[in-house]
Symmetry: C2
Subunit: 544 residues, 2 copies
């Protein structure tokens, strides 16, 4: 039996484009002699469809699409993910399902049992768990279908009280299919292989695994669809960060090989490029605008945007004030020249003066403080948004994860933007990623990488005046954010007590800023945004 | 047996203040001769604790608090909500539990079975369902404990495949307890009574129901704890929007009466006042600032803020431009005088000129458009945020739900603010609420209520230039947002096709703005924010 794995870039709710992709692959696979083609979880509608699922017409659109694909399935069968209406008298009204299509009709529908509801997932919000678990018989083979999380209840991490693999009659099965929507983080590839290998070995079955590729706002899907043999060994991987369809012969699987992982920072870089590109493509925009400060964060954001959108589609704006150093301006210009990308300079001097004058009565007799710094950042925000409004491009936000964490940024100022490109990249990773981009030739000027980070909002300001060294800060933040360790636990790891307390307090105190931040491209296992839900008015007792 | 219902205002994660409240009530109830005192769901830590639950130290703090309360329970027993660690080998590591405390120790722990995961709820993210269902024996009575949603699986709306009321041996029970965290919406009171009445009648048991009172950012709890007799009749209600503890004698319940509901708009008003007050109290702020435009939205916001925080704690800022009419300025001043609340005027003229001059090169030869309007709104935002930064007060956002829906507002401009006060109040409800506030004397000047709504960002601008009449618009929005009806369904209700399509497209197109909006006090059954999760890059096929 020949099986095609179709790893495609869907767009949530865009049935027209999703159907075009799917029908094209059905026909190509048939031509290539495949008996079965497998598409990803909720491929029909894209993942995650969120509250679109509450609209009856959305569910009808999904059903109609399924019937249309079924009609194309003559001489080939297909397994494809879509929501289906529950026939149970009680419970949520939908299932997250895999449809088995053959001979022009829907042969059977198989529901997901384990519904992830943690981190960025909220499937229990929409779906009812499978109550029945049936195998598929097709061309003399017995197929066990599972849907993504269905395989993730493995030894040592049993998040669910039951597993569909324990409920399916797997002794009768010839192979297993897993259709997935498994978003990228830099550690996901290894986790995924561990899970697939564990299941293949335990049940002595080869597994055909199909994932999404492409980004849906924050969530980036890296593909990496694969075949694992019944010994749990990896036989074949599809492309990462690219669409691809490959046909395999189940009687003659490729020989096993080790998982070849790229460097963490390289994977993150490719994910961000895809994330930016798809955000624009799927929102029908082509042009971006970026405020270049001369610092490393905006430089990295620009380099990623140019790679994603093309150098001519990204406009940089330099917005110097009286505190901007000459080298910041020169470095920015050099960067734009290296990238051959257009830039423009607009001074914020006069606007800032005008604000200070307008406020002089109200602020009479009061000392300058962070207020005046924020006015500069916000004046830049207003100018960038005016450019965005006038020319119909999207402002890209340039804040990194360390700043986002400790609130080292101005709400409605440098926190402006339609999409946060590096908001899930710690400052220390920002440096690494710039080195990666410069690996063959200098794109980001060396002086941008080596100079001490500064917001340049007052004379001789340095980030280190108000924040711990980034190496220390990022290590503490990782323990607090990614690992949910309390202050005391982190101090016990050997970090200085004052530094830990101050860092964590800054994170907690700035929850209100992050609430209004742009959506962040997620590349870590724990990003700000929908994957980390903290109370705003809460009292953070685990400060210490 | 005498039973005290303690309806208290908790603060998420603030064990110190929660424990003070709880211990005080345990002692008072004991003095009043109560045998049992009942506190709300997750009373120990406040509701919803969100990802605080992922911190081990947070769970230890909850456990320690429970032990301390248990020690105070001599001569009185208590039922109180708190998270508990699961003893199951598989599944999520926590339960949402009710602790039964007596004779100085924890006697038993009872877990929630039905975990709401829809709208603003995400309990499946954290908790495992109860697998066992035991009754409590105390002083000769048999008590059935349920936790909030546990009673909500009623005829005609079976959201769950099982119910704890079917698993508990209710024939043996003398009465039922339901500890809840049931947030306010204007229709919740009636729903709640229906649910309690249905269960009481079906199982022939009186129910003692205890809810939270107080706001936790978006969610406002209105209290309304009550006793329902075994005929399903309401015997007693505790206060709405106020803390209260009342002792009942189970052998001598008050006689039944009809639920006396206040007007929808009055309930919403009281909820918003409580929402503003608690947001400030629980974030340790006391002072607010508001930009007064002369329009009805900022007028209503000011009136609510003054009621919540005191007239001396709310500062209004008038920010006229060349397009501001004299009557807008005069109306604003009259409003502040009626409320006896301070105001200040800062013209944005010079700042706007300065922006236009700075951008003149970049915008050479281009026509004026919405860009220039947004600059005005953003200049106001910068000035208000500067005042907020300098004086340490919180800027209150003044956008209403209709504007928020169709994106009739400027991101980083009039969308600025730490809290959206009326973002869940449709424009037509804004008018109603102003009439309610003026019911005894004119507080909001009549001319503010009667003049045609305008953003005053260009000469003679009116909302009606770009939006449908608010009565029609709000009716369409309600069908789309609250009822999840598609365009076609709404058109079939008799609305004009063009108006429906245009309204819905505006809602969809502006998802990106709402993503970055301030948290919104929730008063309707479907508010923007955590209760409505829509994809940003999604293709909205149910436009029509």
């Amino acid at each position: 039996m020949k099986i095609a794995l179709a790893q495609l870039n869907y767009h949530i709710g865009n049935f027209k484009s999703n159907m075009e992709l799917i029908l094209k692959e059905v026909n190509s696979a048939k031509t290539a002699g495949a008996d079965l083609i497998i598409f990803a979880e909720l491929a029909i509608c894209g993942y995650p469809p969120k509250d679109f699922l509450e609209f009856e017409s959305f569910i009808s659109d999904c059903e109609n699409a399924i019937y249309e694909i079924a009609e194309a399935c003559h001489g080939i069968a297909a397994i494809i993910g879509a929501p289906s209406k529950s026939k149970l008298k009680r419970g949520k009204r939908l299932h997250n399902s895999a449809y088995f299509l053959a001979n022009g009709v829907v042969q059977s529908v198989h529901h997901k049992t384990l519904l992830p509801t943690y981190d960025v997932f909220d499937e229990n919000r929409y779906f009812e768990s499978a109550k029945e678990h049936d195998l598929i018989e097709y061309k003399g083979k017995t197929i066990a279908i599972t849907i993504c999380e269905d395989l993730w209840n493995i030894e040592g991490d049993m998040k669910y009280s039951t597993s569909p693999t324990e409920l399916l009659d797997l002794k009768r099965a010839d192979f297993m299919v897993n259709i997935a929507a498994s978003p990228f983080s830099y550690q996901q590839q290894k986790e995924r292989q561990k899970v697939l290998s564990w299941n293949a070995k335990k049940y002595q079955l080869p597994i055909f695994y199909v994932n999404h590729i492409g980004a849906q706002t924050e969530l980036i899907f890296d593909g990496g669809s694969c075949v694992v043999n019944k010994l749990g060994e990896l036989c074949a991987e599809l492309a990462y960060f690219e669409s691809e369809t490959v046909v395999f012969d189940i009687e003659n699987l490729p020989s096993a090989h080790q998982l070849q992982e790229k460097l963490k920072i390289e994977k993150m870089y490719h994910a961000l490029v895809l994330g930016v590109r798809d955000y624009f493509v799927k929102s029908n925009f082509s042009k971006a605008i970026i405020g270049l400060s001369g610092g490393i964060d905006s430089a990295l954001t620009l380099a990623i945007a140019v790679e994603a959108l093309g150098k001519e589609n990204v406009k940089s704006v330099l917005l110097p004030s009286k505190y901007s150093s000459d080298h910041s301006i020169n470095d920015s210009i050099e960067l734009c020249k290296n990238l051959d990308s257009p830039y423009e300079t607009i001074s914020i001097e006069e606007v800032v003066k005008s604000f200070n004058l307008s406020l002089s009565n109200s602020f009479q007799g009061l000392k300058e403080d962070v207020t005046e710094e924020n006015i500069q950042a916000r004046a830049r925000g207003v100018i960038l948004m005016a450019m965005s409004n006038k020319f119909g491009n999207i402002l890209l936000n340039t804040s990194n994860k360390s700043e986002m964490a400790v609130g080292y940024g101005t709400l409605y100022g440098d926190m402006c933007g339609g999409l946060s490109v590096i908001g899930d990249v710690y400052k220390t990773e920002v440096f690494e990623m710039c080195r990666f981009i410069n690996r063959n030739k200098e794109i980001i000027p060396e002086s941008i990488i080596t100079k001490p980070p500064s917001a340049e909002l007052r004379p001789d300001q340095k980030d280190s005046d108000s924040l711990p060294d980034y190496k220390v800060l990022d290590a503490i933040l990782f323990q607090y954010i990614e690992c949910s360790k309390s202050g005391n636990k982190i101090i016990n790891q050997g970090f200085e007590e004052d530094t830990v307390k101050r860092s964590i307090q800054l994170v907690n105190r700035n929850e209100y800023k992050r609430y209004q931040a742009a959506p962040i491209l997620r590349v870590s296992p724990r990003a700000f945004g929908m994957g980390r839900l903290m109370p705003l008015v809460g009292e953070y007792t685990f400060n210490n």
